[in-house]
Symmetry: C2
């Protein structure tokens, strides 16, 4: 069924197209562990490039292909590029969902262009005021989903309450958390803390049907007290970029010091640490609240991250998370 | 001269009073490297406790002491505690500056109580609209001073511009940065990015005499592109708590993995990494913009962090940073 299909933007990302196509092969490899059927993927991009790659890998004919003649670069202005390049791989992915040729989009491309094209092109789910970008981190051994990571930098109270509902349903349906604990990102745990916006949101969440655990501080990400953390898109974006860079910074510092002191490092240990701090383990950022599943992976994504993002999109499609969000908001 | 004296809150902090008093000894040790004269420290707290400690260490008579009969606990409500405990060590430190018995305060105690008592009790410097909490991190080998870390969670544009001036003068006078590069924390580098507040502040900073380098993202803390980063107190506080906890989290993860794989670790390497990510290396947070020098160290501070905070206060006193801030704001 084509609505269960994932339109994969082959041209977006720092390592496109090779890493993207390798990711599709990895996710659908018959000897791999991911077991995504190849007919669930629609490759979107330059047909000649895709064909040549698949032929080199002996995988011609394995995937459906939709040609897109243009590419939006990682550094292009999203609004300008979307207007000028009507046949970009991102725009064609969005059209695939609009025409029901696919139900989901996975892209490692220009964030602003993906979010902008998807928000405008797909429209919001019934009852959703504003979509939100959700990112799942596994810092402490259990996943924490934080939203909004930058879709809306000046949200109103109702938007934040809707984020809480959407994040909670996502954590339940796609991450298997039975009754997700929802925290509100703040600078202190007392209900009276924070900006006027947060003081307005706190009692609304407390009165909701959600499993609201109150305010959480940013230090709380490492304490495992909440499964979903709600914040405005400005703060969320600052947090996300800080976590991404800090993790890499400390790892490099550590590896450099170990080398300088000739310490023999255990590669499995590094792998385990990376797994904790690298959100690509969970796929990418999810644009929640639009009519369709949209996964935006990191521009730097390698094949494994692309494969994880495809599996994340599959899980979201199969769980009917969007239908449940519409229902959840109607009942809220 | 008593205005050059530092009132040290002996009773504040998780490890008080011992770690605080050990810090005073460390900073003034004749064989140490810090060389802070003992007559520059005024110990404020329970006189009997202080006397007993100094006697045990064979250091009786080395420091001036000011008795304070009460202590504000780390978890007490700041406003309630300040009203109820007029003779708390924090209140007595503030009175020491009010009466010119000291020019600076160093405390590891209750943050809200220290900031509240100092702001109300000392008043702002001429021309300063709102004080700001500045924290210096040395992530990349050169110090980055970030402010505000939580004094004012809903600042106006002019406040942020003043933070930039204060931070810039502090970096120049106390950290030896010749022409500090000032960045504005934002979610993108383009001038058009961010909240309405930031769009208002950007052209004001661009038109100022400061060495303004434009918007910086939170990932920029690790890139060494700016010496001073300006932000609102809400975002700053989220950033500070995240950095503090994340650093400790990754270090623990790393040490755990190394142990699990029986990797022999080089202690010097750990020390070097800690030095990069532990802001206690630079002392504590500085409350900039009040009439006096106020250093608020982390509650968890050990003796070394206390000693660093004392040296930081000494440097601020000796550099006349407050006089220069008043002058800088008048010329801005």
């Amino acid at each position: 069924m084509s609505l269960q299909r994932i339109a994969l933007d082959v041209m977006g990302g720092d390592n496109a197209p090779d890493a993207i196509l390798e990711g599709a092969l990895m996710a659908t490899s018959p000897i791999g562990t991911m077991k995504l059927p190849a007919d669930r993927i629609l490759l979107v991009g330059d047909e000649a490039v895709i064909d040549a790659f698949l032929r080199r890998q002996g995988a011609q004919g394995r995937f459906a292909i939709q040609h897109a003649s243009e590419v939006i670069g990682m550094a292009e202005s999203p609004s300008t590029a979307l207007k000028a390049k009507k046949d970009s791989s991102i725009a064609v992915c969005v059209r695939a969902v609009q025409t029901s040729a696919a139900g989901a989009i996975v892209s490692m491309g220009n964030t602003g262009a993906v979010v902008g094209a998807a928000t405008l092109g797909l429209g919001t789910l019934e009852g959703v005021k504003r979509p939100a970008i959700a990112v799942t981190l596994e810092l402490t051994g259990s996943p924490v989903t934080i939203l909004d990571m930058g879709a809306n930098i000046a949200p109103k109270a109702l938007h934040l309450v809707q984020y809480a509902t959407m994040g909670s349903i996502y954590a339940r349906d796609c991450l298997g958390v039975a009754s997700p604990r929802v925290g509100l990102l703040n600078i202190g745990e007392e209900a009276s803390k924070g900006t006027e916006l947060l003081k307005e949101v706190h009692p609304m969440l407390a009165a909701s049907r959600l499993n609201f655990v109150g305010n959480v501080e940013s230090s709380g990400f490492f304490k495992g007290h909440s499964d979903v953390v709600v914040t405005d898109g400005f703060t969320g974006n600052v947090v996300l970029k800080l976590i991404e860079e800090f993790a890499g910074f400390i790892l490099n510092l550590m590896l450099g010091e170990l080398k300088a002191h000739s310490v023999q490092w255990a590669p499995e240990a590094l792998g385990k640490i990376k797994k904790h701090i690298d959100y690509a383990e969970y796929g990418g950022a999810l644009l929640l609240g639009v009519q369709g599943i949209v996964v935006k992976g990191h521009g730097r994504s390698d094949a494994r991250a692309v494969a994880n993002a495809l599996v994340q999109a599959q899980r979201a499609l199969d769980s009917d998370v969007n239908k449940n969000i519409v229902q959840g908001l109607a009942e809220a």
